[in-house]
């Protein structure tokens, strides 16, 4: 279904169990290459079968949601998510599962509006601190002119196949036709001491990922944070390690829901 939020339409897929008062889990996908399909074909059905109220949506600019030219700062993505929860009349705290950039949105909402968030599961994701904005913004600034060249697409095709090449062409188009790359650098960031994140956090990383430095950073700054590192795994934890991710996150949500109920 499409849900009107502010000036845009968000494409939403909700899998609700028959039982009332099931814990609500919102699955937030990553940037450029991603859409809610990454959850629809992985965690979504399993979570719904386990009795969770599963909400998946396409971020603005992605999948089948509207693609405005501007409005891609982190806080605007956070406003979209809050607007979506309001439109669906969900006012209880929700469990947020965020993959990559989606995890940064989840952390951002947890910091900005803690009353809306029961817990955060960050899959290969960074909290949106200043260093995150710089690193991601620089990466996107480099990718923007490169991904529209035939040379880049050919190289990607040779290294990773047709599918990845097509996704990369799509990513290049999104970068060219919107302010998504520039808006990362303009995004409001959170305190690097992570003092504003007070909800329970589960974070998953692949041990071959460039984000491995997050493990010590989160452990040092988020007391009680649970971090799981999957061996022999890069950034694509959600897609390549779906079964483990699914069981870790399901156990986590069940555990958190029991804590809430006490």
């Amino acid at each position: 279904m499409k849900v009107r939020v502010g000036e845009i339409d968000l494409h939403v897929q909700r899998l609700s169990p028959d039982a009332e008062r099931a814990p609500v889990v919102v699955l937030v996908h990553g940037m450029l290459y991603d859409s809610l399909a990454s959850y629809y074909f992985t965690l979504g059905p399993a979570f719904a079968a386990a009795g969770l109220d599963v909400i998946m949506y396409d971020l603005r600019g992605h999948g089948r949601s509207s693609r405005p030219t501007t409005g891609y700062r982190l806080e605007e993505h956070i406003d979209d998510l809050v607007g979506l929860l309001d439109a669906l009349e969900i006012d209880e705290p929700v469990h947020l599962v965020g993959n990559s950039y989606g995890g940064s949105i989840a952390f951002g909402l947890a910091a900005a509006q803690p009353e809306r968030v029961a817990s955060v599961v960050a899959i290969e994701a960074e909290p949106p601190v200043e260093a995150w904005s710089q690193r991601l913004g620089d990466g996107l600034a480099r990718a923007k002119p490169w991904l529209i060249t035939d040379e880049a697409i050919d190289l990607i095709k040779q290294a990773k196949g047709d599918h990845e090449a097509r996704l990369s062409r799509g990513a290049g188009k999104l970068l060219q036709t919107t302010t998504i790359a520039e808006d990362v650098l303009l995004s409001r960031t959170i305190d690097p001491g992570l003092a504003d994140i007070r909800c329970p956090v589960l974070a998953l990383y692949g041990d071959e990922s460039v984000l491995m430095e997050q493990v010590d950073y989160l452990k040092a700054n988020l007391i009680g944070c649970r971090v799981v590192v999957l061996p022999e795994q890069g950034h694509s934890v959600l897609i390549e390690r779906t079964a483990e991710t699914s069981s870790l996150v399901l156990d986590w949500v069940r555990e958190q829901s029991l804590v809430e109920a006490e």
Binding site: S35, S38, D58, H163
Partner: protein, 97 residues
């Protein structure tokens, strides 16, 4: 069940082709040939998000008996991407039996 639901392989292929035409029109690919061997990704250039839309169209047309989520639950994402129209047709035909 409404009377216009076809349950034979040829009938399901015809209905599925109609749904795919709707999706493909948005991409200006309405002339693409669609057979049992057609691959969603390789031949029709559909992405996984298009299969999410298709799943909604299937449910609308056939009702809750066609649960695409169950069909894909035990498949890896790359297998889903490599799906053929025929595989989906056979799944629908069997589910309608």
């Amino acid at each position: 069940m409404s009377v216009d639901v076809q349950t034979t392989e040829a009938g399901v292929l015809e209905d599925l082709t109609g749904m795919l035409r709707v999706l493909l029109e948005e991409y200006g690919l309405e002339d693409a040939e669609i057979t049992m061997a057609t691959k969603f990704h390789e031949d029709l250039e559909l992405e996984s998000i298009d299969l999410v839309t298709l799943s909604g169209l299937l449910r609308e047309h056939y009702g809750d008996r066609i649960n695409f989520a169950t069909f894909i639950a035990d498949k890896e994402l790359d297998e889903i991407i490599a799906l053929t129209v025929g595989e989906l047709v056979i799944f629908v035909v069997e589910a309608l039996r």
